[in-house]
């Protein structure tokens, strides 16, 4: 069955080709550096390493060894997204994570996707399928990291959460400075599910993240994001929330910190379908721009077809508050420390929402390292 899907996806990719900046969804992100490069498939080392050990109630297996037909590639559509098609046609043997009905998994399920390239540019297509059965609870942490020269990581993760499931998903991206990173997180939520996504992006030279959620009745869906870019990094976060049914709530908060001549894109789509009455959707994108040369493009994209809904959105682009810097200095705190303290404060509400203590600590370290690295 996988072979048939692969073949369809391969055909679809050959029809679509790589997107160009003429495509509305890719207007501010040129993937020419990717399409121009000849990548060689990377070795087995790029397969997601199996989670440390599976607690009871969790089963982790290779996609090829599980019955994934009801789920695989049924949610992350390769019909219109070239990178999803490319992944689907080429993914190495990915991982299937199955969380049993009613299972409450306390420890985070950690996946580390490590890439490396020496000499030739290489490509990997990590593929993860997460199925959470009714009433289950779990936390999944995907870490994308790598080293070496130019490589492309093109990942697709599908999450299918059945009724009443409670899922926390974290994605930490610390690819090497010259890496290309393209990812799609496709989320299908059953009735009364509670889902939280945290997308944390630090690395990579050219990064594109798509997070797409489809909500059922009574869902609560939270999308948090933090991106910190400097030098010549480019990051593009596209999110899409499909309120397909009534009485669902979505909260979205993406925060960006830009330095150097980095560029960032935020595009937040919210679709409220005709019968999705009583939808409550809130979207916020805040950006802290620390240099003259950094550029941010931020755009809400709201399509509201129901009439009894509450939808709010807001975007801000600001600099550090000079009054606050002076206030800190006037108490003895040095200029560089004062700036870092304020930058950290900006990111803080995202950091505070992270419930995995080890990840929160790691994030604080990453933030400080990157802030100091920029200034030295």
């Amino acid at each position: 069955m996988i072979e048939r899907i692969r073949e369809e996806a391969r055909q679809r990719f050959s029809e679509l080709g790589f997107p160009t900046t003429h495509d509305e969804d890719w207007r501010f992100t040129s993937v020419a550096p990717i399409s121009r490069t000849h990548f060689e498939p990377s070795g087995a080392g790029t397969l997601p390493a199996a989670a440390s050990q599976a607690a009871s109630g969790v089963e982790i297996s290779r996609l090829s060894q599980a019955n994934v037909e009801p789920y695989l590639a049924r949610y992350a559509s390769y019909a219109n997204n070239a990178f999803v098609a490319l992944n689907t046609a080429n993914f190495e043997d990915g991982l299937f994570i199955h969380i049993a009905k009613g299972a409450v998994i306390e420890e985070p399920i950690e996946l580390v996707i490590q890439s490396s390239a020496n000499g030739h540019p290489t490509v990997s297509h990590p593929r993860i399928l997460i199925v959470a059965e009714p009433n289950s609870q779990a936390t999944i942490l995907e870490t994308y990291t790598g080293n070496g020269s130019a490589y492309l990581t093109n990942s697709v993760t599908e999450i299918v959460a059945a009724d009443h499931a409670v899922i926390d998903h974290y994605k930490l991206q610390t690819e090497s400075a010259r890496a290309f990173h393209v990812s799609t997180l496709q989320i299908q939520l059953g009735r009364d599910t509670n889902f939280r996504s945290h997308s944390l992006s630090f690395g990579g030279g050219l990064v594109r993240n798509d997070v797409n959620a489809v909500l059922s009745e009574g869902c609560e869906c939270t999308l948090n994001g933090l991106y910190l870019v400097n030098g010549g990094q480019h990051i593009d976060n596209h999110t899409s929330i499909d309120h397909a049914k009534p009485h669902a709530a979505s909260h979205e908060l993406y925060k960006g910190i830009l330095e150097g001549h980095s560029t960032a894109v935020f595009n937040g789509k919210i679709l409220v379908r005709k019968d999705a009455q009583k939808t409550d959707a809130k979207q916020t994108n805040k950006n802290l721009v620390l240099s003259e040369d950094a550029v941010i493009n931020t755009k809400p994209e709201l399509q509201i077809l129901a009439d009894d809904v509450r939808c709010t959105h807001g975007a801000t682009i600001g600099q550090l508050d000079t009054e606050a810097i002076f206030y800190l200095q006037s108490r003895g705190i040095g200029l560089a420390d004062a700036r870092n303290l304020l930058i950290y404060a900006f990111a803080r509400d995202i950091v505070d929402r992270i419930k995995v203590a080890s990840l929160r600590a790691q994030l604080e370290k990453l933030l400080l390292e990157k802030l100091h690295g920029t200034r030295n």
Binding site: D321, E323, A324, F326, Y327, L328, Q329, S330, R331, G332, I333, G334, L335, D337, A338, L341, L342, Y344, A345, F346, R348, D349
Partner: protein
């Protein structure tokens, strides 16, 4: 030698001259009140002393503790023992009061060649000073000044001063916007911090504060110059006659 020696200080903001030749000498242990009408340059003087870069010093000199103050960064002034209580304390969302104070105190200690305080010792100092200011401890975990009432902000300033133990404290219109109860608490805090090793400059528009913080000297600032200096009784005279007429003496 005096702690602070200001000679012929001139300063501009946005190209306009605000301070037009200030001379002032302050010794440790003294409390100097600087009074004057709005726009006389009182707050500008406070800001210039604390190193706010909105103001350009165009002439004159300021020697603090034997050093050229005007050459020092704002943080170095603070580390050397200068503290300004802001007229409008700044809200800093996302930075807890406790973290902020600890960073400040340790920066000052580092400058003095002292080790960082451990958490227990730091907390002991903080709790002691909070009691002095009759502050609720919940304010420690809230973001700096964020959502504080006007009175809480002013109390928080004096509380910081009590923790940082400066050599020279500058209170910039600390009484503005305070009701009488809050004013009494703030004044009691300031009085508790009076010491032979510490000088204070109390900038105020109204005599009222000086009923509670009794100064050793009072200076009247008008149109960027000190037009009259005297003892604490000068403040009472001003209460009677107002600032009218004093502007003329500057000419």
């Amino acid at each position: 030698m005096s702690l602070l020696e200001i000679k012929n200080l001139h300063a501009n903001v946005a190209g306009r001259e605000i301070l037009k030749g200030i001379d002032l000498s302050i010794n440790s242990g003294e409390v100097h009140a600087i009074m004057g009408p709005n726009g006389s340059g009182k707050s500008t003087l406070a800001q210039v002393l604390s190193g706010r870069d909105l103001y350009q010093v165009t002439a004159g000199e300021v020697v603090y503790n034997g050093k050229d103050l005007l050459e020092m960064s704002p943080e170095d002034r603070a580390r050397e023992g200068i503290f300004m209580a802001f007229q409008y304390p700044v809200e800093i969302p996302g930075v807890s009061n406790l973290y902020f104070l600890k960073a400040a105190l340790n920066a000052v200690r580092k400058h003095q060649g002292l080790a960082d305080l451990d958490a227990m010792d730091f907390l002991a100092i903080v709790k002691d000073r909070m009691a002095l200011m009759e502050m609720d401890q919940s304010l420690l975990n809230r973001a700096v000044n964020t959502g504080f009432s006007g009175g809480e902000k002013k109390r928080n300033e004096i509380f910081q001063m009590a923790v940082l133990e400066p050599k020279l404290a500058i209170l910039d219109e600390t009484d503005s916007g305070l009701d009488i109860d809050a004013l009494k608490i703030v004044a009691a805090g300031v009085n508790a911090l009076r010491s032979p090793e510490r000088a204070m400059i109390v900038v105020t528009h109204y005599q009222r504060l000086l009923n509670y913080i009794v100064p050793d000297y009072v200076h009247v600032l008008a149109e960027g110059r000190i037009v009259k200096s005297g003892g604490k009784e000068l403040a009472l005279e001003l209460e009677e006659s107002g600032y009218v007429g004093l502007e003329g003496e500057a000419a």
